[in-house]
Symmetry: C3
Subunit: 119 residues, 3 copies
């Protein structure tokens, strides 16, 4: 149990699925960094369409080979831990993508407690 | 028309796709409970990767057979109705998963009005 | 670089994948309108299940032929630009769907800068 219940920060990162670093998908590199930094968890969603960048619509039909669909990466953790990883996110993202935060109230963040921890 | 326009609560639940209850996917049980409780609506998204739990990265390639990908279940409704379902969500989630809320301003929540209701 | 860093608005639209206008998926029409209006970007996610409308659970197994899965369309931009597109969103949505906003703090919105723009 990580004990991050309370008012925390939801970090959302949007980038193209097609971006890579050292032949690995960039979103996966960011995910690995977040895990290495000890963040509580992360969820990666893949869009089916979108635009941004230079205002061409990305979709399953258009431009996907060139740019890829949008990836939305979400993390909820304490302000302190989010602040600590933001420079690393920025360094990995380089010259593209969206990074935003929202306020979130964590009601429970209980994961994989052993059965003896249960009430 | 449900008439929940205004400042409401966005409830977000994250759990593993692989969790089940009575041989049914747990996220579907939660969805059925939310519907039975009369909530206005819910949306279920499936992630393509993530981590949490014990800090192993879950992905299409790793661990999926064991744990499954993350499921993100979202509901927007009044504070009162969200508060009413939270204990039931908690009971179904048991010892795993993330539950959080955010503030959301609902501009419209008009669904399936019959044609005679249209302006 | 669009320069929308700071406190902005996250607009979220939920509608059925099966809705169409002039034989085109409605979510794609909304996406095209948002692009034409000069919004900074948009992401479209497709749900795997959900309910709303008349409280039948939509899923890959049930009702999909009739109604389709939920589509979640997200845009982050300035309050001014969101306010400008809302009437157009409303007109396209007609008699169905959910429109909500949340507060989001944009840390970076740097996309496709040419290499000469980079620090």
């Amino acid at each position: 149990v990580r004990g991050i219940e309370g008012d925390q920060v939801l970090l959302r990162i949007i980038l193209s699925e097609s971006r890579s670093l050292d032949r690995e998908p960039l979103f996966r590199r960011i995910l690995e960094m977040l895990r290495a930094e000890g963040l509580a968890g992360a969820t990666v969603l893949k869009g089916v369409a979108g635009f941004g960048h230079d205002h061409h619509i990305h979709s399953l039909m258009i431009e996907v080979a060139a740019r890829g669909l949008p990836i939305l990466l979400e993390v909820v953790d304490t302000q302190e831990r989010i602040d600590r990883v933001l420079p690393k996110v920025d360094a990995l993202m380089a010259d593209d993508g969206v990074v935003m935060t929202e306020r979130a109230h964590v009601i429970r963040y209980a994961q994989n407690r052993s059965s003896t921890d249960q009430p």
